[in-house]
């Protein structure tokens, strides 16, 4: 019974994940891109602003 409940929870969480996190972002992230869903929180501490560009960047 415990195994079935755990399996059920895993599948439900996977389902919720697919609904909440766009598949495109997951695929982009696997391919190596930093996305909104999979952006690193630590970027903010290191001084990276939204969009992944440095605030000092001249290119923005």
């Amino acid at each position: 019974m415990k195994n079935i409940i755990l399996g059920f929870f895993l599948i439900v969480l996977l389902g919720i994940g697919i609904v909440r996190e766009p598949i495109k972002e997951t695929a982009d992230f696997i391919a190596g891109a930093s996305t909104d869903t999979y952006g690193t929180q630590i970027d903010l501490i290191a001084g990276v602003s939204d969009g992944g560009y440095s605030e000092d960047s001249l290119g923005s």
Partner: protein
């Protein structure tokens, strides 16, 4: 959430299908995992060095012992050491990547609490990972090994705290997974206690007859 749950399900399927093969070629598979982790370490943030792969292995390691008896538990317990070593290899890559990142961006001493908890969990994990390797485990006394591996609860707790404090979009996933683990562990503990008292009861009943 998609990635972690998806990877956990994928590893589970692979263990159920290839459990004997994983055990037989574990050293080669460790080698491949180390190569992948080293390559990922040298790259920008990715699926491997962000800790998702490591966590997906540890979810299976965590739940393996508290599952109901049967085919799934048997297979998972048979490959538990391998899963723990894979999880550790990718977690070390993740930890080192962020430590180097913190040094590079000079925030090693002013990082958020979850960073230090993550580093602490890595420190706790290292002896567990090393002693999960069969050739080292064989050199240890069973009791010492068991006692040392009680540290895994501290490790799981630190990992849970690390993930919850990050407060990412996956917070609800982490809360559900670790709450479920606490419930399962509690149930397994109660079951073991019940079985022990039943055994003592039976022995006590037998006692006067054999004396």
């Amino acid at each position: 959430m998609t990635l972690i749950a998806g990877l956990t399900i994928l590893w589970l399927i692979l263990v159920l299908l290839l459990s004997k093969w994983i055990r037989k070629f574990n050293l080669y598979l460790y080698g491949i995992a180390v190569i992948v982790a080293v390559i990922a370490f040298t790259q920008e943030t990715n699926i491997f060095n962000m800790g998702y792969v490591g966590l997906s292995f540890f979810i299976l390691v965590m739940f393996a012992s508290s599952l109901s008896q049967g085919f799934v538990k048997k297979k998972l317990m048979g490959n538990r050491a391998e899963l723990a070593v894979f999880g550790s290899i990718f977690s070390i890559g993740h930890g080192l990547k962020y430590i180097v990142f913190a040094i590079d961006f000079s925030f090693l001493w002013r990082a958020p609490l979850y960073f230090y908890i993550g580093v602490a969990s890595l420190v706790v994990m290292l002896p567990l990972a090393i002693t999960s390797l069969m050739f080292i485990r064989k050199k240890m006394k069973g009791k010492t090994w068991k006692l040392l591996h009680k540290l895994s609860y501290l490790f799981y707790g630190a990992v849970a705290l690390h993930l919850i404090l990050i407060n990412s979009e996956r917070l609800i996933f982490y809360i559900v997974v670790f709450s479920l683990y606490i419930i399962y562990r509690g149930l397994a503990w109660l079951q073991a206690k019940q079985q022990k008292s039943l055994k003592t009861h039976k022995e006590m009943k037998k006692g006067p007859a054999t004396a």
